[in-house]
């Protein structure tokens, strides 16, 4: 960490090189597109190429044989044992996701019948603490699939093995450069991206209409969101925007940071073209403006759920499905969730749910005074070092086989069926991509948000800043414990303290 704080570090140099157009050019060459000319410096994703039409045109043009690809990395008759933790489907997940997850493990067992897989599906809100504690107690799993923000902390702690796409048999060029950045710490690679996603803006067109708004048009700016939210509350009595501001919950920064970035704010300078992560932006005008917008909606207009301070996104879903909430930010999977729950509803509830699903619209995230922005999210898979693993041993070949299987074009597409994008570029060319484009409504919208994606700061302190400092800042402002300006200053002070090692 000293090198990171003491001027340009090896990591920064490598990251800059990495963020240069080399990788993007490689990807572009492989994809046969003018990628290099327009690649976004933060994510390597080019908005002019990665349009919904382009994605549709390449889908289904490549045949994939996953077993054959994996066999090149680890023989299919390899005998071994692997422990694996991930945040997978839960009771509220759409049936299609549960089915595909089941098929994934069945397919792996069929491909590698002699690898014994001991797996644990963990709840998102519990997983980070559990993995941290397990690693400290030398009881971590051999392999873990973690949300994009978390891996760097374990890499910085020295708990992860160096492991990258090439170890699993895939060239680096098959992955988004922005995604690779999230598995890179001090110039070394500590994981393989499994999926990459961005959220979108979702609204209920019927409530818009009832409030006198254009039902087919999303709010273009964050100021529009504030105004629409008030108009909806005033005209219909329903909550406008589904604000999420629970403390110590990942849902909160995923929804606030795009707003802050759009206005020119941020946690650090992660939204800038060449981020250093040394400058704290929590108290700049952009972040304060975003915080003021939340204050206006929650405190002044009372146009958002009063329960926002204890809500996660899960608590927004049912009110939205019941037609009591007009706008929210979420994944493409939200449509599948709504469809699934509408199917299971009965009587008058079903009638309402079906209507809401029909009235559901997806649009680009709103712009701010500086840009349009969204979190470049997803997950990565990592391998722990033997000394942190239960039993003190990692079956490296089994880990390679599993990761090759998981991150290949087939399963990185299927496991992201209604929620995300495959991490492996070749997934976009597969027949499964074509199937999901035909099946999943609004997928094109969230894919179109990819070029506006900004990764969270790739530093170990990121989790604390995003999950604790940012939500606390919002709560301090919205409860009146502090003014907006004081809350921002307090948060900046804490973030500066972190950077200085306090």
């Amino acid at each position: 960490m000293t090198s990171r704080r003491g001027g340009p570090s090896a990591f920064e140099l490598n990251r800059r090189k990495f963020l240069g157009y080399t990788a993007a050019a490689g990807a572009a060459a492989w994809l046969g597109s003018p990628f290099e000319a327009f690649a976004d410096a933060k994510t390597g994703v080019d908005s002019t190429t990665w349009t919904p039409d382009y994605i549709k045109s390449i889908a289904g043009t490549l045949d994939i044989d996953t077993a054959a690809e994996c066999a090149k990395v680890v023989p299919l008759d390899y005998k071994g044992k692997l422990t694996y933790w991930w945040n997978g489907t839960n009771q509220s997940s759409p049936d299609i996701d549960k089915q595909l997850e089941k098929e994934f493990f069945e397919a792996f067992a069929k491909t590698y019948p002699n690898i014994e897989l001991d797996k644990q599906n963990l709840d998102y809100n519990q997983m980070l603490d559990k993995v941290r504690t397990a690693a400290l107690g030398n009881a971590a799993p051999m392999v873990a699939r973690l949300p994009i923000l978390w891996g760097v902390e374990f890499a910085a702690k020295g708990q992860l093995q160096e492991f990258g796409p090439t170890d699993a048999g895939y060239p680096l060029e098959e992955y988004w450069p922005g995604a690779m950045k999230s598995v890179t710490w001090q110039g070394k690679t500590y994981g393989v991206p499994t999926n990459n996603e961005t959220m979108a803006f979702i609204w209920n067109s019927a409530i818009f209409k009832a409030a006198g708004l254009d039902p087919e048009k999303a709010p273009d700016t964050w100021d529009d969101v504030v105004a629409y939210s008030k108009q909806i509350k005033d005209k219909t009595g329903k909550n406008g925007f589904g604000l999420v501001a629970r403390a110590n919950a990942g849902n909160t920064p995923f929804r606030f940071m795009p707003q802050a970035w759009a206005n020119g704010g941020g946690a650090f300078d992660e939204a800038e073209d060449t981020p250093t992560y040394q400058k704290v932006y929590l108290n700049n005008d952009g972040t304060k403006e975003a915080l003021q917008q939340l204050y206006q909606m929650y405190v002044v207009d009372k146009s958002v759920p009063a329960s926002a301070l204890t809500n996660t996104q899960t608590e927004n879903e049912d009110p939205f499905l019941a037609g009591n909430l007009a706008m929210m930010i979420s994944h493409p999977t939200e449509y599948a969730y709504m469809l699934d729950h509408a199917k299971k509803a009965t009587g008058a509830d079903k009638e309402m749910a079906d209507k809401v699903v029909a009235d559901m619209r997806y649009g680009l995230m709103p712009k701010g005074s500086k840009r349009r922005a969204v979190v470049f999210g997803g997950s990565n898979v990592h391998v722990f070092k033997p000394e942190f693993v239960d039993g003190g041993k990692v079956d490296s070949m089994a880990a390679k086989a599993f990761i090759a299987f998981l991150t290949g074009p087939e399963w990185s597409t299927k496991l992201a069926w209604d929620s995300s994008n495959p991490s492996n570029f070749r997934g976009f060319k597969s027949k499964w991509m074509k199937q999901r484009l035909d099946q999943i409504k609004f997928l094109n919208v969230t894919t179109s948000m990819l070029p506006y994606g900004i990764p969270f700061p790739v530093i170990p302190e990121s989790t604390e800043v995003m999950n604790i400092i940012v939500p606390n800042m919002i709560q301090n402002a919205l409860t009146g414990k502090m003014t907006v300006a004081d809350a921002a200053e307090d948060a900046a002070k804490q973030a500066n303290g972190l950077l200085s090692g306090m």
Partner: protein, 337 residues
Amino acid sequence: MPAALAAGAFQDYEDRYQVAIATSETAATGASPAPRGPNLLRRIASHWADYIYVAPALGVMLLVIGYPVYYTVYLSFFRTSPSLSMNDISFTGLDNYITVLGSSSFRDVTVNTIIWTVFSTAIAFLLGLGAALALNREFLGRGLIRGLLLIPYVISAVAASYVWRWIYHSDYGIIGALSMQLHLSDRPINFLDNTHTVLASLIVVNVWKEFSFAMIMLLAGLQTVPDQLHRAAMVDGAGPWDRFWHVTMPHLKGVTIVTILLMVVANLNGFTIPWIMTGGGPAGASDIWITQVYQIAFGRIRFGTASAYSVILFIIMMVLGYFYVRALGGKDDGRSE
């Protein structure tokens, strides 16, 4: 008969009764003050089997309590790296203690903890006492009501917290909906998302969960109160309040102290309800010591600071534990006199 006179007469009767009991027990057991000094080894040797019986439990305690306590105290004097690698820690003396005690949040969290503990304990105890007194009387359906009142105690705290979150929900909670239907308010009451109401709301849940424990303990205590004392007091003209205050309560003294101390310790460690229902929020309004320690250790990965915080709590618990042991010891002494 004036109440004061009745009380005085009754006190006299009770004192005599206690002396009689003590004398008869002493005569029966032949107990005398325990020998000290040179006889110590002989006394240990004479109870060798007892020591062997408790040795496994002691061993486990040393392993799962003793070592962690030692390690926590050790870490509290160091600045730890996020990886907790022992090669990467630096001695900082009392810095962690100064950081904890000097932080502005410590004062707020301490106030929250005191409010949480005192009100939870006091209200749960009083409700438990009331329920125990009621259930100690014979009436139709007593068994059923006793069973029903035990339900909160046996329900998982995690499940109860989630259920109460929805009961309290600031937009779609049952209480809010009822209050609107009954025209008591024109919008749902904001219980958990309001810094002024959140702690009180959590205390209600805690009391609901905990009062059964006090009830069980006190009910057991009430069943040891000799019935002849009540009858004698009634003959002497003591009213219900006098009988409660001068007959029942003195006999509940031991169990009351133990119950209150156990509840205080449980509430100081009461992590589940505040953490699940609010995560300590909003804006730290329901943060108590134990949630703060968790947050510092596992949210902010500052194990040294969290250890210092834990040691401070440990000392407070030890002081309470001292009184707890004294209370228990006093009770034992009473039996052997």
